[in-house]
């Protein structure tokens, strides 16, 4: 998912738990960064279409609120990274400390734990001598 600078700012605005129509959002951002009501309306519409905002018609205007909180959104982004990685690990632009892969079997973990323990004991003996 891609977000423009204004989209990010609008999302941050709604992540504070606000419900607002386009006019209220516009008056909030007009003081900070300028821009027209039309720009805000199309930004809200794009965020709604991306599934990041919910809206409900009250009278003549739509009232918007965040469809998911900030943590859920970051979780979704990370899940996307995991999916990209499992689909084609070599083509992602990340280097991960651990893998996003299927887990090691219990037997493999046990064998590795033993190996680490043996090395730890050997190092301890060496430092004692």
């Amino acid at each position: 998912m891609q977000l423009g600078e204004l989209e990010k700012q609008v999302l941050q605005y709604f992540w504070k738990g606000r419900t607002a129509d386009a006019k209220s959002v516009h008056s909030h951002f007009e003081k900070r960064r300028g821009g027209t009501l039309n720009t805000i309306q199309s930004t809200l519409d794009r965020l709604y279409k991306k599934g990041l905002l919910r809206r409900e018609k009250q009278g003549h205007a739509f009232h918007y609120q965040a469809a998911m909180d900030r943590q859920a959104f970051i979780g979704k982004l990370i899940e996307g990274i995991g999916e990209d990685y499992s689909a084609d690990p070599g083509s992602t632009l990340i280097a991960a400390f651990s893998t996003f892969s299927e887990k090691l079997s219990d037997k493999q973990i046990e064998a590795l734990e033993k190996l680490i323990e043996a090395r730890r004991e050997a190092d301890a003996e060496q430092s004692d001598q």
């Binding site: 943590q71 982004l77 070599g90 651990s98 590795l112 090395r119």
Partner: protein, 320 residues
């Protein structure tokens, strides 16, 4: 019909493409039978070999062009070169011939692959920029992300950044966090995401199973090099190995709770291989540079020979 130097240029492009294809076939065979035995070699050796393999099709294509255009560069070329590669109709190129169709298809495929690759890279970069914007600075050069999945990674092409999720940060010790921080720092210093991206471009021409194998091998080498980088600054191999295993166990536990669709079969062994490498003997075998050089020259000559072979084969089926 195209005549003169433009025709020669188009023929050279066709030779380049055929040489690249020949190089791909020959390298794919070498990779299939030889590469799995390279595990015991040093990290530098394996890394160099992987880059050589990735760029070999281009080397092979270039060699075929040089052999065609400048045979006088090679000693006694009149005795041996004609049997490998020779001209048929250098100053005559028909766009409607198999040469023209083949060249058009190759150029179109390269263009499509380039556009798709650039689009994908841009989309991924934007996602990482968004993650960076949503992260919070924290100690140890790791930007913290408010997410449950236990993960630590470096993302970004030109300005890579290290991330750690709160799910991981809250479940590890100070020592583990220090090790993870050093490991991610190694990826940033070495610009591993950029290298990975360049490598992906080079191996993009290979058939999918070979491409995936090579990319997985490069990724493993990058991780092992980052582990060695940590080891030089924190000389406690068992602590590094234990951190790696602990993070892997945390990630596996999380994946059990989530319907995560990950299935990278190679990477299932990657952690095991990294731990074995960390705890194993420090000295690893090296390969003779002369032997590698001989293999490269022979493979390049075979690729160049395949250009003429394909030419003759196709012209038994199609007209010029």
């Amino acid at each position: 019909m195209i005549f003169g130097y433009p025709a020669l240029l188009l023929h050279l492009l066709t030779i380049l493409m055929l040489g690249v294809l020949g190089g791909i076939v020959i390298t794919a065979i070498i990779v299939r039978f030889v590469m799995p035995g390279f595990e015991g070699y040093s990290l530098t050796m394996r890394s160099n070999l992987l880059w050589l393999i990735a760029s070999f099709p281009i080397i092979a294509g270039g060699a075929a062009v040089i052999l065609s255009v400048m045979p006088e560069l090679f000693p006694a070329s009149h005795l041996w070169l004609a049997g490998i590669i020779h001209w048929h109709h250098a100053y005559l190129f028909s766009p409607a011939s198999w040469h023209g169709v083949f060249l058009s298809l190759c150029l179109l495929s390269i263009f499509v692959a380039f556009v798709f690759g650039a689009w994908r890279t841009r989309a991924l970069s934007r996602r990482y920029t968004l993650l960076a914007a949503l992260s919070e600075r924290s100690e140890g050069g790791l930007a913290e992300l408010d997410a449950d999945a236990p993960m630590a990674f470096v993302a970004g092409l030109l300005s890579p950044q290290a991330f750690i999720t709160r799910g991981l940060a809250s479940s590890i010790s100070e020592e583990e966090r220090h090790i993870i921080g050093l490991h991610e720092q190694a990826h940033i210093v070495r610009r591993d995401p950029l290298r990975k991206s360049l490598f992906a471009m080079l191996v993009g021409l290979y058939p999918s199973p070979v491409r995936r194998f090579l990319q997985a091998e490069l990724e493993l080498v990058q991780e092992q090099r980052a582990d060695q980088w940590v080891l030089r600054r924190y000389p406690n191999p068992s602590a590094i190995a234990q951190s790696l295993l602990n993070v892997e166990k945390l990630a596996a536990r999380f994946r059990q709770q989530q319907p995560y669709r990950a299935s990278c079969h190679f990477a299932a062994h990657a952690v095991q291989r990294r731990i074995m490498h960390l705890l194993g003997p420090a000295d690893h075998r090296s390969l003779s540079v002369v032997l590698v050089g001989v293999v490269v020259v022979v493979a390049a000559l075979c690729s160049a020979a395949s250009v003429d072979l394909v030419h003759h084969f196709l012209e038994t089926l199609f007209l010029h």
